[in-house]
């Protein structure tokens, strides 16, 4: 009995002893880009602790939004290097987890999964980003809540409607929250408006949409789709026709 347990324990020890020769310092990284950043870059450093050179077979990211590459194809014994993962933030929000799968000819550990966790700071959380009235419905105001992110301070927000057919009113409700009341002048026509919401003293612009909806088969033209956000040159309609607060 004792012999069997000893043999089993030995086999486990041998298994753990046959570690990967390509050793990554960290297989998981957490990145905290600033609101102005367009990309977040993770550097996964490694060392070849073995006695044989290791060759990369492939370095693949889990998503088209992430580009991953190794600096070299071959890693000599004792050599250091890094796999770089570049995550394009785009219009993403919140916590984004992407993986990079690295395949090598290292027999002990041919596949390593690297995890890139990116925490995208959210200056304003807008809920909902879309309000609508059915055609003919009573044109009562609808509320949009704007919540300021924990790590930010916003005392005022500016709201601009792309259409004069919708009126907006901003109210500060305290605790870093604002309430936007939006109301159409009438609901008989198929109207739409893009609300541009901008924190005071910030180039970052946020959007919400208001629409009068018709029958399921009667779409209307998009309501002045906003241009991509440029942090240093905010895109605000040049001559806002609606309400500004």
């Amino acid at each position: 009995m004792k012999t069997h347990i000893l043999a089993f324990t030995l086999s486990i020890t041998v298994c753990f002893g046959a570690r990967a020769e390509l050793k990554f310092d960290k297989t998981e990284l957490e990145l905290h880009p600033t609101p102005a950043d367009k990309q977040a870059v993770g550097h996964f450093t490694y060392l070849n602790t073995g006695k044989q050179p290791i060759h990369f077979k492939s370095v693949k990211a889990s998503c088209g939004c992430t580009a991953a590459q190794s600096q070299k194809d071959e890693v000599k014994p004792g050599e250091k290097g890094e796999v770089t993962a570049t995550f394009n933030i785009g219009d993403r929000t919140g916590t984004q987890v992407k993986t990079v799968t690295v395949e090598t000819d290292d027999a002990a550990n041919p596949k390593t999964v690297l995890t890139l966790r990116t925490i995208i700071p959210q200056q304003l959380e807008i809920t909902p980003t879309f309000v609508f009235w059915k055609q003919g419905e009573k044109p009562d105001p609808k509320a949009i809540t704007v919540k300021v992110g924990k790590e930010f301070t916003v005392n005022h927000i500016k709201v601009t409607s792309s259409s004069p057919d919708f009126q907006t009113k901003v109210e500060e409700t305290g605790k870093g929250e604002f309430k936007i009341d939006i109301q159409p002048k009438e609901t008989n026509s198929l109207l739409a408006s893009t609300l541009t919401i901008q924190p005071e003293d910030s180039p970052k612009v946020f959007y919400a949409t208001a629409r009068i909806t018709g029958a399921p088969t009667a779409p209307v033209a998009p309501a002045a789709p906003p241009a991509p956000v440029a942090p240093k040159a905010p895109t605000v309609p040049s001559s806002p026709a609606g309400q500004t607060h």
Partner: protein, 142 residues
Amino acid sequence: MKFLPARQALILAAFALLPGVGQAIYFHDKISWQSPIPRSELVSVDQARAWGENVTWVDARPDQDFARDHVRGALSLNEDRWNELLPQFLAGWSPGKKVVVYCSAESCDLAREVAERLRKEAQIPDVFVLEGGWEAWVKKNR
């Protein structure tokens, strides 16, 4: 002596169980056999096609994939250009219409993420993720 093999088997099974338990604790939030999308939020290709005109198709893949090919009538809505594309989607959406979001395959996350933002941020109801994604659609439409 009679029970020795059984005891050995039990001890070995207990040893084998240890890494499994460890993994289940450490990776409790991403257990591989659990789909991150609840069954009720998934729709098969056949079921979505049966909805006919009452569906807005949303392609969550990157722009270049959408440009290459997409479900006829689908709108592109991805998180790379969310602020720019969302108003175009909302312009075509109507109350009562179902929304089916797809990305390239079963394993991709893009459709789930886009569907979640449509539900939570825009508060659009009846948003589903296409089971098997674009690959499943192509298979069924060969």
